[in-house]
């Protein structure tokens, strides 16, 4: 007995193709979603910290230089987190009875470091050197976003390899003059296409090798 009409052959073939297509689309969606700023960076979602330190207050309102607390970020591979001695440079006199600062005072008195929660956690197989980036024209803002507008900090960029390579393949699109590194809300004074080329020469950056595997992986 003939159950299927001959035309069903076409339907079967199309449904196989459609099935494969849907599979690919679903996988594609999962991949894109996994690498999106929403799921990777959790942009806008602040990380809880033992002390509610506000960059917005210290950096934007009081205009204290990034360098004041992040003194090793300029030169060293590991950007570092300021010790409580740094906090106490001011808070030995300012807001001395603040309850919010109790963990800071305890840490300063006992010598036990405050354990901050890491916001920017790079992959284990990346050998990232923070100082090199600061010294070669990558502004704080370029990777960390408008930290000066954040009360508690969140990760503003995806920090995926694709994101790193955007700049490693074309640093001239992102680098800025040495005296603008700490600037937030920076706009290139002249066309970035012109400025970028000048800065490449100034910093002696050779973009040729920057995309090589060994630059970041060993």
């Amino acid at each position: 007995m003939q159950i299927f009409r001959p035309g069903v052959n076409t339907v079967a073939k199309i449904s196989i193709l459609a099935g494969a297509l849907v599979t690919v689309l679903v996988l594609n969606f999962l991949f894109v979603q996994d690498r999106s700023p929403y799921s990777r960076a959790r942009a806008g979602i602040a990380v809880a910290q033992p002390v509610r330190f506000s960059h917005q207050l210290h950096s934007d309102q009081l205009n204290i230089s990034c360098n004041y607390c992040h003194a090793s970020a300029n030169e060293y591979a590991y950007a570092g987190i300021p010790d409580t001695h740094t906090c106490m440079s001011c808070h030995s006199q300012i807001a001395v009875y603040s309850e919010l600062l109790e963990p800071v005072r305890t840490s300063y008195e006992t010598g036990d470091p405050l354990v901050w929660n890491k916001v920017h956690d790079l992959a284990e197989h990346v050998y990232f050197n923070h100082g090199v980036h600061v010294q070669n024209g990558v502004g704080c803002e370029t990777c960390h976003g408008r930290v000066d507008q954040m009360a508690l900090v969140w990760q503003a960029e995806t920090m995926t390899m694709a994101w790193c390579l955007e700049c490693h393949f074309a640093p001239e699109d992102f680098i800025r003059p040495a005296d603008e590194i700490f600037t937030f809300g920076y706009e290139p004074p002249i066309d970035q296409a012109v400025l970028g080329e000048q800065l490449l020469e100034e910093y002696e950056i050779n973009p040729e090798g920057l995309g090589d595997c060994w630059v970041c992986h060993r």
Binding site: Y68, S89, I94, E124
Partner: protein, 196 residues
Amino acid sequence: MLTPKSSNRLVLVVLAAFSVLLLASCMNMEEQPKLDEPYVFDPNFGTAWRELDPNAIPRGWERDDTLMFLGTVDGEFVNDFPMDVDRELIAEGQVQYESFCTPCHGFAGYGDGILNEEGFPPPASYHTDELRAQPAGYYFDVISNGRGNMLGYGARIEPADRWAIVAYIRALQYSQYQVLDELPPDLQAESGLLNQ
């Protein structure tokens, strides 16, 4: 031409190949077992770093040069710099000064930084006879170890950068206290003070 049977097999193979991609989310190479704690003993590898000999001096940490690291010669603060004071050093000093010092000392060194408004007791102005008379080494020592309400900045500022700050403080002092007759003649005319 594909027979129905072989085309089924082909579809299976393609699906199997794609399903391998699903595993990608399980292989999280971003988190790896590593000797992150350099001095913690691991039965397989020992410690990642060897304990330092107590007498070892890390590279760049010898402190024999008392002028460079303490601002003293024979135990006395001296009014001398361990390096040449040039425009470059003073410019570097300005960058460092405006990072670390202006919150309290203010941009010109009058002790009128923004933190005074927040309740930090104003520090002394640099522009007093007493502080103008202090040797360079004294300023280096205060930056390194602090004084009064000011905590030391030795842990955060490299010695060479501390000297750059001292050079910039000197520049600030000259900028606010200059005997007119000591200026070169062309600058005297430029200052506009001669005709007053």
